[in-house]
Structures are given as C-alpha cells and as structure tokens.
C-alpha cells in the first residue's frame, strides 16, 4: 500500500484511522482526524508527562541544596558576630533631658539604627524604661498609654507591661527588646540593647 509508506513510524493512530476510513466507516467532516485529545495524542511513552520517582528524588535533592545554601548567610553572619566584636558595640545616644520629661511621659527615639524605633518612658521619679517598640507580634509600633499604665499595640490590641516589657494580653508572645539606659548630667542616654533571652 503506497499510503503506508508515506506514513512515518509511530503514526499508528493515523494509520488505524485511515484503515478504518477505507473500510467504509464514514464520519462527518466536523471532527479532528484523531479520536484522542489534541494535546496529548503525540505522547507515546507511558507516563511521560508525570513526575516519576527519579524526577521526584532529584527535586528533593535540589531542595536540600537550596536549604543548605540558604542558611549559609546566617552562618557567616553568626561567625562574624562571634569572631569580630565579642560584644556588640552600641553607639551612645542622648534621648532626652530629664527636665523635659515629666513622670508618666514618653518620648520616641530611634535606636540603635535610625529605623529601629524605640520608646522611653519615665515611670517614676527615678525610674526609666526604654524598649524597641516594634510589637513582637507583627511589628506595629507600640505606644505608651499613661491612663492605663501599660504599652498598647493598636493593631491587634496587644498589651505589654511597661516595667518588664512582657506581654500581658493579646497576640504577642515575646517581650519587647529592652534598651539599656544611662543617666548622665541631667540627660538620659541609650547605651545598648539587652540580649534576648530565649
């Protein structure tokens, strides 16, 4: 049959169909020549489209590689922190003059970086506390409520004790990082951030 020669190998479907056609099974023209789905009729290998076992394992190995690489920067940062400056060097920053701060007042400042907002509260005559005021829940700025005598996060009503920084209500679970203070010649200075205790 000349027709058979024309058809390349692996075009079995077509051949079958033609044979069918020749045998008189006539159909209307409003059809694609194949009985199959147009998008997959040329896939012959079994399960060619599926992610097979080996492919899946390769993916897993790749993912392990990604994980390994992704923690390297943390490791290097930690190593630098360990080797370099044993103790983190914090700048000394003047926050406010004592005269300008009444008992129960609070001032906002930035420490240690210019984007780390913090809050200094004068709780008593000689009692000062300062915290980095990004809420430990989702980083909203916490403010000092003089009336309620506590620090309030407006976002989800988280509440922190101003004396310890520990959350007393709402979603936050971890205390606010405390800023270390120093009193010097009538002014309050920030000298560091307390190490976070797990």
């Amino acid at each position: 049959m000349p027709q058979e020669k024309e058809l390349g190998q692996g075009q079995g479907h077509q051949r079958e169909h033609l044979q069918e056609h020749q045998q008189g099974h006539k159909r209307d023209n409003n059809h694609s020549p194949f009985q199959e789905d147009n998008y997959t009729h040329n896939i012959r290998k079994n399960d060619e489209r599926k992610l097979d076992r080996r492919g899946f394992m390769k993916t897993l190995v790749g993912a392990a590689g990604v994980f390994a690489v992704s923690t390297l920067p943390w490791g290097t940062l930690a190593a630098r922190e360990l080797t370099g400056l044993k103790k983190k060097a914090y700048p000394k920053l003047k926050i406010a003059d004592i005269r300008s701060l009444q008992v129960g007042d609070a001032v906002e400042f930035a420490y240690p970086g210019e984007h780390d907002s913090a809050l200094l509260i004068r709780l008593g005559d000689n009692e000062y506390k300062a915290y980095q005021n990004a809420c430990t829940h989702l980083k909203c700025p916490v403010f000092w409520s003089k009336e309620q005598d506590e620090m309030v996060c407006p976002c989800h009503h988280g509440i922190f004790d101003a004396r310890t920084g520990i959350p007393t209500a709402g979603p936050p679970k971890r205390p606010l990082p405390e800023v270390l203070l120093k009193q010097e010649s009538g002014a309050i200075y920030a000298i560091g951030v307390k190490r976070y205790e797990a």
Partner: protein, 62 residues
Amino acid sequence: MKRSYLGVLLLCVVLFLNIICTQKAVNAYYFEHYRTVIFYAVCNAMLFPIALWIYQRERDVQ
C-alpha cells in the same frame, strides 16, 4: 520490576530535617546564640551531600 520507595522516603526525611535546621538556625540568630546558628547551618549544609548520596545509591541499585 518492583519499585523501592526507600530512597524517596529517606529523602523526604532529609528535607524534613532541612526545614527544622533552617528554622532553628534563624531562630537562634534572633536570640543571638551564634554558636547554635553555626551548628544548624553546618547541619543543613551536611544534609545536601547526604541527600545526594541517597539519590545516587538508589539510582545505582536499579
């Protein structure tokens, strides 16, 4: 041919450990436990050759 899914299972375990190590490392960094950070980072890095070894072993068996 009977398939062995041991490799797949082991690799899943490795990936699970990867996730744990990553989380632990980042957390430790936050708490300034730098030695712990390095430990977990090294663990994470070591898991990759292990994964590779499991994969090759499984492939060569066939």
